[in-house]
């Protein structure tokens, strides 16, 4: 099983969710995060002092999928989240040792 972590622009979340559903992936966990890569922040003014805000709001998406489904899922995410501009985000893959469904105690691919 593979874990796919994707950091994407927040407004792209709906599109990515729909793209994953099209390749058969229905569950995911989403967190609101802040971050930056090469994208610059913006300047805010407060009572005359300016300061730059580097951290930009992003969405982190996590899905765990069967090995065979990983490539299709990654492709779905990257094409849906792509805007062509700096700050689109990144996708990371890692291996998962085990997965268990809490309600039924199923393990492995049945738990996904």
């Amino acid at each position: 099983m593979k874990k796919i972590e994707a950091v994407i622009k927040p407004f792209k979340l709906e599109e990515v969710k729909d793209a994953l559903a099209e390749v058969g992936i229905e569950g995911m966990t989403v967190t609101e995060v802040k971050g930056f890569g090469r994208q610059k922040g913006h300047t805010e003014i407060y009572r005359g002092s300016e300061y730059t805000v580097d951290f930009l709001p992003k969405i982190k998406l996590e899905v765990v999928v069967a090995d065979e489904a990983a490539e299709g899922a990654v492709k779905a995410i990257t094409s849906a989240a792509n805007t062509g501009k700096i700050g689109d985000g990144k996708v990371f893959l890692s291996s998962i040792d085990e997965a268990i469904r809490i309600r039924t105690d199923e393990t492995g691919n049945e738990a996904l």
Binding site: E44, I45, Y46, R47, G48, S49, E50, Y51, V53
Partner: protein, 498 residues
């Protein structure tokens, strides 16, 4: 350099208006019948081109004159009566049951509520929004606790020490625990109870203002002790000197209609001393500490603006033309200041911010306060514009140059705004009868009252902080408490459970 041109244009436009406005002013020639001391029939007989009055008109004019004279006599009798001691035999001469004017009383009861609203929740939200999220409750609680504490202190001894007695600097204890003040006791044309509570709301908001200077780093216990000492030894004497017939009113005829010196300079200087003695917040000025809730700041500023009608117009202690004009100039000066601050920020920084326009409005409110009983609308524009420009410079430039951490610009806006307003109060005037605005030099009393208040408040604040230091084993929160946030450290609560 090129940014100076629009600024100079605005300056010229706003400062030229009171000077140009004088020539264009037409005197308002019709006084109301109640205030008139020139009866209609007398005017008719001395004016060669007057039309003949019918008998009925003549009778009505005579009746109006009698009514007006009776009213005036009642007014002067009322103030004479209220100044007599309880055991003065002359009280028996006053056959009338009560000199209380119901219109004045109704207005003053409302004004009292408006001014209380200025502290809770006006100032509380204004400061609360400017604070960081982890300190929002500490600010709100300090304002609320100040309301409760000052109510008690004013009732027990504050009112007496401020307003009763003939000392130059302090009153006496004749009205401690409101001795002699009952349901029917009169002060001018309103019940003394109403006057007492109205002034109490001033005693509440003034210490609450200081809270913003040392916010986010002072121990709650130290705050309460410091404010109690400052109230007793700075607020009460300055009140007495300006409004209680003491040194500044008696020897220098200082003009302070609603509290430019008593409230704003007094609190502003205390704030400056406190923030310097306490030291800067951790991370200041490198770490950005933006307001955690700007909508709160705007709501707070709006509540202050609306409530200020009670503050300024209520300081007339009557529902009359002076109160009406006070409300007018308050609105005009505040709007001018908000607008000028907005334009200044737009020109200098590229974008007009929400915090900026709210701060500009507050600066205008502060500056018009001492002048609200004596200035006219064009003078109000000048005062509002001046306050916005000077306070903008103090809050943004001077603060960073001098390096003190005045958390919410209490000195920058209230202190400096109060100084600007107090000084300009000695320059711009309006003739009450004709409505003509004019410039006259009465600066001497103003300058003296500003200097005396600055020195008095500064010295008392420093000593009060040192005493609080001893009582509380340190006035500043520990490093850990400051990082954790005062809400959890001092109050064991979190502001938001989101």
């Amino acid at each position: 350099m090129k940014k100076l041109f629009p600024i100079l244009t605005i300056l010229l436009a706003l400062f030229a208006s009171p000077l140009l406005g004088q020539d264009a002013e037409q005197p308002t020639a019709t006084p109301s019948t109640e205030e008139s001391t020139k009866p209609a029939d007398e005017e008719a007989s001395t004016d060669g081109e007057a039309k003949e009055l019918t008998d009925e008109e003549r009778a009505n004019a005579v009746a109006d004159k009698a009514k007006a004279e009776a009213w005036l006599e009642g007014q002067s009798l009322a103030s004479e009566y209220s100044s007599l001691d309880d055991d003065d035999k002359r009280i028996e001469d006053y056959a009338i049951d009560s000199f209380v004017v119901s219109g004045d009383t109704a207005w003053m009861i409302v004004a009292t509520a408006l001014v209380l609203m200025m502290t809770i929740p006006g100032l509380s939200l204004f400061y609360g929004g400017l604070a960081r999220r982890k300190n929002v409750l500490s600010v709100l609680v300090q304002c609320f606790a100040c309301t409760a504490l000052m109510t008690l202190l004013w009732t027990i001894y504050g009112y007496s020490v401020a307003s009763s007695g003939d000392g130059q600097f302090f009153g006496d204890f004749a009205k401690v625990c409101l001795k002699g003040v009952g349901v029917d006791t009169v002060s001018g044309t309103i019940p003394e109870s109403v006057y007492f509570t109205f002034q109490m709301t001033f005693a509440i908001i003034t210490p609450a203002l200081i809270v913003g200077a040392f916010a986010e780093r002072m121990k709650f216990s130290a705050v309460l002790i410091f404010l109690t000492l400052w109230f007793t030894f700075s607020y009460l004497p300055v009140w007495h000197m300006v409004w209680g017939g003491g040194y500044l009113a008696d020897k220098w005829e200082a003009i302070d209609f609603a509290g430019g010196t008593v409230v704003h300079i007094n609190a502003g200087i205390a704030g400056l001393v406190a923030c310097i003695v306490l030291g800067k917040r951790q991370g200041y000025p490198k770490s950005p500490m933006p307001p955690h809730n700007v909508p709160f700041v705007l709501i707070g500023a709006a509540l202050l603006w609306v409530g200020w009608f009670g503050f300024n117009a209520g300081s007339e202690l009557a529902a009359d033309g002076v109160a009406g004009m006070a409300q007018l100039v308050t609105q005009v000066a505040t709007a001018t200041a908000a607008f000028v601050w907005m334009m200044t920020e737009w020109i200098l920084k590229g974008k007009p911010t929400a915090v900026g326009i709210a701060t500009g409005a507050v600066a205008g409110l502060v500056a018009i306060t001492p002048a609200s009983g004596s200035v006219g609308p064009m003078g109000a524009i000048a005062i509002g514009a001046a306050a916005a420009l000077v306070c903008y410079w103090t809050a943004t430039s001077l603060k960073h140059k001098l390096g003190y951490d005045d958390s919410f610009d209490v000195f920058g806006v209230h202190g400096v705004g109060g100084i600007v307003g107090a000084l300009l109060t000695g320059l711009f005037f309006i003739n009450a009868e004709t409505g003509v605005e004019f410039v006259e030099n009465k600066l001497k009393g103003q300058i003296v009252s500003v200097i005396v208040t600055i020195i008095w408040s500064g010295v008392v604040s420093y000593i009060a902080l040192k005493i609080a230091d001893v009582f509380c084993g340190g006035i500043r929160s520990t490093e850990d408490e400051e990082i954790q946030g005062l809400d959890v450290a001092d109050h064991g609560e979190e502001g938001y459970q989101l």
